[in-house]
Symmetry: C2
Subunit: 915 residues, 2 copies
């Protein structure tokens, strides 16, 4: 069932190798007996590298990753076909180092020389040498014709022992660090794509300096036939927030320049939306005398000028009077403006170059004949403060630095934003929670273990690019091309389940049309708020805010638990499902940015809380509530498989297997537990919630199992044991909290109900962080003998959560009382309706979704919602903004997920009940 692969934003002008993911139907393709072929325009076969990224429970292929490359213009679309092969040697490998299926084209080669501590990758266009040890991770990039276009690629870090609080204060000692590679792993080695991971820490360049810290991973992606290296740069903060203030994070290369005279060396720096600053180190345009049109044009377009002997002598005889520009800097310290300046040499004043608003973030230094390197940072202005520096362009070896965090900005200050205000006891903290909605606790708001991943591109260029080319390359790094299968095919495979459907499958009716209009409104509105409210910055880019302050006409950026959303009520899921439903490029990009953010910044990657995330708050790490629900693997799954198995996200998916250890360390219910005075966590009977905790554990297990990750057998065991345990609970999910055995995965009745008589404990949050999706996937894809009791428990929860008081009493002996998020839970009813083919339940689900009868803001968007935004009057905000005071990100996420799932599950209800 091959579907069509299309470019997310149209066929790109440049494409330097692309990786993508494809889902397959259960039971169709045996991993060892399947061959994948790719076909482009007019059914011409395109070389491809293939690997399996997930398996169905029956062992057949569920998701594959593929890499292609293009030497010329990419085709408009592609198709990957799977055929059964008897020759298992030609099948795709089940590990991530897929081998050649098609060797009629140039292949990438990877070799390692342990004696020289070097890994060499030859793409056919460039030879890149990576160090497996030491301070120059990217030792050298050489074009196949022998030009060294960049070398000594290294990580630079600046820190200071105190914050940059007041400019009037005596300034601080700064310490310089370089990233030192301590481990190198070839993750893929061709034939189309090679992936090399270099890991290490930052070491002080000062004698007796700071201990090594800030672990990094540089993941380098190279494609056959390509001169462009994609570099994913990850750091984890493991400093002391009181004494380790990061001042600058950069990547630096040396560029050999001796091949070209000063007037044939060129600088290119990205401006706005494809704009370019093009200069020569020694300019020959705009002078009082004309060297000749051919000379000026050559320099302007980056070509070698005619020999200087052919220039007009009025210029050539006076060239020594024309200054050369040794150094350039661009600083993007605000998301709205950048400055540029240059300098003839140290000791002389800088000269301002007219700047602008938002730089695309690509910079080139090189010569007309010797070539050079262009280095770009994706989302450059969104991740401000950022910058680029060129140094020593007038010497034989220039240096080019791209700053992921600009040293011209105040140092990163990760300390907490308030001093606790005297909230010393749990009772005080719970009282404060009642006013600021912040769950505070001394020392819990730690940044220790949060991470940041940045995407860079290193383009080896044999000659200076002309303006048009450089402009196109800067647009490439703004929006690296994405190849995606059509939603219909994805839907048919059920690899992302079938609780969503592509837009055109939705039964047309006034109601379903109106729901889709609301979905579009909600997405567009939240997207608009990102740009209007400047939700940008090193830590912040990608996230959205949680709640709005209508009095101040601002999102509650400064109020305790209302600021950064940190995946509260699953906006990640909403955006990915909405992308699957619509295929809209802007939805994909917003979902991608959110996933990158929440997976890195909102989650701990080392330290005692590794595997947990932090509840919504003013700082992404400030709330003391560390939760498995925030780090839920489900939120990364969509991007992971669609991207063909993004390696960094793959790491994040594995990390969360340790979440249960962190729950053991830090009891999530320590403040509210009735037995908090006496409770002792017990690894064989850990008290966990069957909602937010178990769903996060189960999501991690599910994915590790289907990926056949290193711990897949442990994951499978625990998943199946816990499924069985839940199925055996008298009240199933309604039990609320149960005992969990960390060693076996077994779930048993909670401590207060040793005889499994049945406990009723309901929370409106339980099913709102992926429980629905995890349960649906388990029920859908696992053997019936495994899921029998579990399915019954899940369906009961679905039926009764929004059921009537009478029904609840009939089944469980007590009613659940008044619950919130009725709209968000309508999808549970819909699921039951769909599964049980129960039209009465379907009607009830739609009534719940539409909040028929009374409702409050805690239930969802009801019939009185006005579905409009309005401009805030000028004097009520710093910049022009719109607002929809009725919007809550919680409710938007649930409306989004509920609408998309209900339309898929019970959309046909409106076929039978056209209004």
């Amino acid at each position: 069932m091959p579907g069509t692969l299309r470019w997310l934003e149209g066929t790109p002008i440049h494409e330097f190798g692309t990786t993508f993911g494809i889902p397959w139907l259960q039971g169709q393709h045996q991993p060892l007996k399947t061959r994948f072929n790719c076909f482009g325009k007019e059914d011409v076969e395109v070389p491809i590298q293939s690997w399996v990224t997930a398996y169905w429970p029956d062992g057949t292929v569920k998701w594959t990753g593929h890499a292609i490359f293009s030497t010329g213009t990419p085709d408009e679309n592609y198709e990957v076909r799977a055929t059964t092969s008897v020759d298992s040697d030609h099948s795709s490998d089940d590990r991530a180092d897929g081998r050649a299926q098609n060797s009629k084209v140039a292949e990438i080669s990877v070799s390692e020389d342990p004696a020289q501590n070097v890994i060499t990758v030859n793409t056919g266009k460039i030879v890149a040498c990576f160090s497996t040890r030491g301070n120059f991770p990217i030792r050298c990039i050489t074009s196949v014709n022998g030009k060294v276009t960049g070398r000594n690629g290294r990580l630079v870090l600046l820190s200071q022992p105190a914050p940059s609080d007041e400019p009037t204060e005596v300034s601080r000692k700064r310490e310089n660090f370089e990233g030192r590679v301590e481990e190198a792993i070839v993750e893929q080695c061709g034939p189309i794509r090679a992936v090399v991971a270099l890991k290490g820490r930052h070491h002080s360049t000062d004698e007796g300096g700071h201990k090594p810290w800030l672990p990094f991973t540089l993941r380098l992606y190279l494609y056959a036939g390509s001169a462009c290296i994609r570099m994913m740069h990850t750091i984890i903060y493991d400093g002391d927030m009181e004494t380790d203030f990061i001042r600058g994070i950069g990547v630096r290369f040396d560029i050999p320049l001796q091949a070209d005279p000063l007037y044939n060396r060129h600088i290119r720096i990205s401006g706005v939306d494809g704009g370019v600053l093009s200069e020569a180190v020694q300019g020959v345009t705009g002078l009082r005398r004309d060297p000749g049109l051919s000379v000026r044009q050559a320099q302007t377009f980056g070509k070698p000028t005619p020999p200087i002997e052919e220039w007009d002598t009025t210029v050539s005889s006076r060239l020594h009077w024309v200054p050369s520009w040794n150094d350039y800097s661009l600083t993007q310290l605000s998301p709205d403006g950048f400055n540029v300046r240059k300098r003839a040499k140290a000791g002389c004043s800088w000269v301002n170059i007219p700047g602008g608003t938002r730089s695309d973030g690509l910079v080139y230094l090189g010569g007309a004949t010797g070539g050079g390197l262009a280095v770009g940072l994706r989302d450059f202005w969104e991740r401000c403060p950022t910058g680029v520096d060129i140094r020593d362009a007038a010497s034989d070896q220039g240096a080019l630095t791209i700053w992921l965090y600009s040293p011209c900005a105040p140092a990163l200050d990760l300390r907490q934003y308030h001093d606790g205000l005297g909230q010393d006891t749990y009772d005080q903290q719970l009282d404060a929670l009642n006013i600021t909605y912040e769950d505070w606790e001394p020392s819990l708001g730690t940044p220790y273990g949060i991470a940041k991943t940045s995407e860079l591109y290193l383009m080896s260029l044999d000659e200076t690019p002309d303006q048009k080319t450089f402009s196109e390359l800067s647009q490439f790094i703004r929006r690296p091309p994405v190849l995606l299968l059509d939603s219909e095919t994805i839907h048919q495979t059920k690899a992302f389940g079938d609780t969503w459907c592509p837009q055109y499958r939705i039964i047309p009716s006034p109601v379903t049309k109106s729901i889709q209009e609301h979905l579009a409104f909600l997405f567009d509105f939240h997207k608009s708020q990102i740009s209007q409210r400047r939700w940008y910055g090193f830590w912040d880019h990608g996230d959205i805010m949680h709640a709005y302050d209508e009095d101040r006409h601002t999102w509650r950026y400064d109020i305790g638990g209302y600021a950064w959303d940190n995946s509260e009520l699953s906006p990640d899921l909403w955006l990915w499902l909405y992308f699957l439903q619509t295929g809209r490029a802007d939805v994909y990009r917003m979902a991608e940015a959110l996933t990158r953010h929440t997976g890195e910044v909102d989650v701990y990657h080392l330290g005692p809380y590794k595997g947990l995330g932090t509840r919504h708050g003013v700082q992404h790490w400030s709330d003391s509530c560390k939760q498995a629900r925030i780090s839920n693997a489900l939120y990364r799954k969509y991007f992971y498989y669609l991207s063909g198995g993004d390696e960094r996200v793959g790491e994040l998916l594995q990390e969360v297997l340790d979440t249960e250890q962190a729950i053991l360390t830090l009891d999530p219910y320590r403040k509210v537990r009735k037995d908090k005075a006496t409770y002792q966590p017990d690894a064989t009977a850990l008290s966990i919630s069957l909602g937010t905790d178990w769903s996060a554990l189960a999501a991690a297990w599910l994915i590790e199992f289907e990926r056949r990750g290193p711990r897949w057998e442990e994951a499978k065991k625990k998943l199946l044991a816990s499924i069985k345990g839940i199925g055996n609970l008298t009240n199933g999910f309604v039990t609320g909290t149960a005992s969990y055995n960390l060693a076996t995965g077994e779930i048993s009745p909670p401590a207060q109900d040793p005889d499994n008589k049945g406990v009723v404990q309901i929370s409106h949050l339980s099913a709102m962080f992926g429980l629905f999706e995890v349960c649906a996937e388990i029920v859908d894809t696992f053997y019936r003998e495994v899921t029998g009791g579990f399915e019954r428990a899940w369906l009961e929860y679905c039926v009764y959560f929004n059921g009537t008081n009478r029904e609840q009493i009939e089944r469980f002996g007590v009613g659940f009382g008044k619950l919130q998020l009725r709209q968000g839970h309508s999808r549970l009813t819909a699921y039951a309706a769909h599964r049980l083919r129960d039209h009465v339940l379907a009607k009830r689900a739609w009534e719940q979704f539409h909040l028929k009868g009374g409702y409050g803001p805690e239930d969802g968007y009801g019939p009185d919602t006005n579905w409009k935004s309005r401009a805030v009057s000028t004097e009520n905000a710093m910049v022009p903004v719109t607002e929809a005071t009725w919007v809550s990100t919680n409710i938007s996420s649930l409306y989004g997920i509920g609408a998309i799932q209900n339309l898929a599950l019970i959309g046909d209800y409106y076929e039978e009940h056209r209004e």
Copy 2:
């Protein structure tokens, strides 16, 4: 002949007292016998303070300055009438301290207490105490009902001994300074307006620190009935550019806050185009519990909340859990973007507040009942890097700082931008001039003595302003209201001569219509380049660039003599004449900014070059060519008189009386003089050009004389002596260079022609820096017996400069050869045509203006000029820009001046010769 006074940009919403200038016909009003009255709407008399700013040669009033104030809404227009009074006590004073003419309204009072070193000004709304000695120039501002809204107003300065070159370097010691008042002068003392000037230097706050430096003048303007103080802040750089790097320049006030609880203290910070950030120190909106609508609304709008006892107790009982925000900062480091952040207290992390593009630059700190101070800096983002800081808002006394130069930016580096490139000898320097057009000389590119004046507003507010009011106030400081007489009345008085005319007086014809379209094009284009090319910044704002590099699609910001224009060929004059012709508000604003810039930054105000300006170049002070033509008083004259005698500009007009001393010190022709090996400047026979040098000296004398300034008798003597001397030269202005006696002003034939046989030495630049206007004014307004020979000399120059070779030989014995700037000189021909009523000359002048016959780019814009600009393609510039590669600022200025003057002088030619 009273004309109508109108507001430049329409009737302002707020007006806190306005000063304006009015011209009068020669021979009409005797200073000691004239009374001025002002009338507003429906002829109701408005209180006014009046003073004479200039006199005609016959001693009658030429220009007056007036101050009015309004307590409510200003009227749409006003009229000032002069009547002859026999009672000289009621006449306007001839000094600048005009006395009351109308005492039926509240008057401002000024008193000085030498014992307390204080000058107290009571406006009826506020009492402001200024220190005549010490570190708190603005000691206290108290509202008449006793609220202290600001105190300890002081100047803060940060410097460092080395540049902020590389962030990786160990950072520099910073030194803190405070401005110490050493002299105080009451320049005006009521009844409507008081002006107090406080002068001093910045003193180190460190023991044994830097010597006192950076002289300042704070000029404070107060009006009866107003709570707003206008503060003109001037500094002169007198540091060592190698060791004195300014890091921050600020004005700071302490704000008493103890009158209001934290939740009734408010912050207001300007956003974009009237946008406002409104916050309370301790917010009660957006919380989990609602204190009550009336509480939230009161806080939002800056009113005192109901007593806390009346709040909902769910909030009042938990208020101690709500953080207060002690500190706020806004940094505008680029003209395109600002950042805002706040902090609960020192030791805690800052929290980012969404920022924006361009802040209006007003900031308020105060309490709902205690009030506070709003401080604003005009042209805030244009003068970036700027900023505002609020500190200690949660303590009893907050501090508010506005940064004229933000300490968050790299330190000001005034060193030269290149090292001279080995240009050691004059010959080398002249050779380099031939390629970069820069006139370089070691050590001559000094910033020692350049100045900067900034305009601030201090608004004493009895209570926190609501958003609407604050928004209006921020628009007030963006465009302080200007009251101007209509152009027709100005023209009729001839006070600015009659070589220009208001637009509607121009004879309509296809040619004159087309000329006016070209004038509009040129203005609009150059104006557009300011915003597109970001000609903003601390030193740069106001200036325009000189020449364009069509290869790079950029102005030649980095090429020797082609970058900043520094008044080359009189753009100041062009803009002011174009404003007079059109009355356009945007022309006035651009002319005002240019005048402020060129008068301060491009000119030396102390040191050996005091009185000279610097030729166009990459830095405003980098060129070694220091010229009287750049500092020409004529360029300031228009703004000076229209503004009612701006006191700072008045100082600039007097400074240039010292220009001749600087010429004696630094021979302007040292590199090109034939006798440079032997030439010794002689104060009794100084070699000066009769074009650029003499016109600058004469302009300064003329203005000092007509102002009756402290040196007016010396000025008059030198002016008349030099007029006589020029008239006596056999070849008049064609002599080129003559001998000048610094003591007497006498002009005698040049050294090589002791017998006055007649020398011919012509430069195309001679008449392009104000010579025309100065000569025309002398001929027009002085007694005929004085000007006879002079007028003949001037008319000869006008007739012969663009005359035929034959005519030149006939009169002077030799032809002038090929000269440039034919179009710019057509106005000389036009002047002669007008003066001599010579239609043949008029026809010739228009032919010259239109460049009939062959022309080159050095002549002007000719018939082949395409008069269009076009968009530069995206990849050819960093940001979207337009270009007109045929435009040269030199030529635009001369086209502008020539067109305006020709239309006035010989526009009637087209009445007779309609095409």
